[in-house]
Symmetry: C2
Amino acid sequence: MDCFHKKVMGLQTIFANQVKTIFNDQSVFDEWESSLGSGRTGYCEGTLMEKAGFNVSFIQGNALPPAATAFRDELACQPYKAVGLSAILHPYNPKIPTAHMNIRRFEVLRSSGEPIIWFGGGFDLTPYFPIKKQVINWHVKTKEFLDKYDKRLYSCWKKDCDDYFYLKHRQESRGVGGIFFDDFLMTDLNQTTELVLGVAELFIDLYFDICSSNKSLFFTSTEKDFQLWRRGRYVEFNLLQDRGTLFGLQSRGRTESILISLPPTTKWIYKGEERFEHFNRLLQHYLKPKDWIKMQESAFN
Amino acid sequence: MDCFHKKVMGLQTIFANQVKTIFNDQSVFDEWESSLGSGRTGYCEGTLMEKAGFNVSFIQGNALPPAATAFRDELACQPYKAVGLSAILHPYNPKIPTAHMNIRRFEVLRSSGEPIIWFGGGFDLTPYFPIKKQVINWHVKTKEFLDKYDKRLYSCWKKDCDDYFYLKHRQESRGVGGIFFDDFLMTDLNQTTELVLGVAELFIDLYFDICSSNKSLFFTSTEKDFQLWRRGRYVEFNLLQDRGTLFGLQSRGRTESILISLPPTTKWIYKGEERFEHFNRLLQHYLKPKDWIKMQESAFN
């Protein structure tokens, strides 16, 4: 187990600790091995944290599945190793957003025999009842963090996140976005590793701050139903479009760990968009890509 | 509107009437038009029939989506017309199976300008607490019906159904099967049309008989939870594998009509297979392809 692998396991433990501290719900860790690799799946099925999953996986194979690289076609079917951490959180209270984070490192042997390393990852926020200043802060803090490394990263990765988490068949974004990156490597490998681990740490800070702020907010049964209906969209995205999910299933990964991202409970309601008055506000103001940084500036002007 | 189109609309009405008669739940009809075509979606969100959808659609386009034909690659991207009826029923009581039926007629213009017609369709049954004699009857009656046309059809279409409704990532069948056919045309077009409409009528007879028999069966909250968990598998199949769903979304069909197949409520539970004692019986005795006709014969020996 190398340093990156150890660090992501440490981060996995921090996730479970935060869920315990803020929601008082216990997580369970489940170690597994398969023909492709090994991993540890942490999960919580609690009262206030209705469902959360934290996966660390280490896999290797003789043929990189095509879904693993969008940009490097020549590497498809080459031998590979991958280490990843992913986290997905579905709180019970609809006033707390659902959130997702993933970081991963790939190492692939070129046909010339030379190894190539790259990183991928990102995070995104899916509020049901968004609070504008929280959404702005989510983006502002992310930009501040990335600007320390390279001022071009935020706008590029923010756009990639908006493009990626867009449900084509619904013509709506999954949520208010965040960042998404792939095939990433700066000239300095150590600095790249630090940035990528920093993305996970930043997510932990930002997301659990929102959880602390919102966890006591009151909600009605209609608001709960609205969340259950919107969670259906989350399922649709993950099973119809998500490359991470399809990569996992294509590479014959451990199904229970891959599909831990699916919400604990859902409702599919015919033409829900016409039935919930909350939907129009969400769609008009939040489910379309926006320049949140500019909104912060204008808030002070 | 030609004769086949009229007949499938009549069948759609019969579905709604049966739901009203047996479950006392009302269906609503929703007519729609889009750039590709038109249709009528019937749906029921009732007390005993928790959710049902009955779609009739008529679409035409300049380029047949690849998902529409598995066997006729040369027809992909040719101009086409399609009329279809699909029905999906999710009763509240877990002792009543979920069921699905679909019939469709395609008409495609070959590049030579000559039209080609074919039919597809089928039905399958997804019980949560199967009753053996009902499953045997489901298959025996289907074989009897098809044998009137051609004695080779049942065994071929039954196998295709088993192959089609198999969840690769779970290594389990969706249910106890039925029949599945595609690219089907007998020498006599009228007889083919009669057979295909007969498939839908047979489904109505067989399925609503099971509903009548089982609708008063008692169930526990654990049995209800088992159904909610198994419904997650239904979602996984429809969004990850189902060609009909993918065809609909690829051809920019009406999303709400296509995804009406998704269950009203679901639960994803981590490692549910280890938590529900009911699962083992279901998996061992029902979620693997079986020769149900032979089981009937042996029951009498």
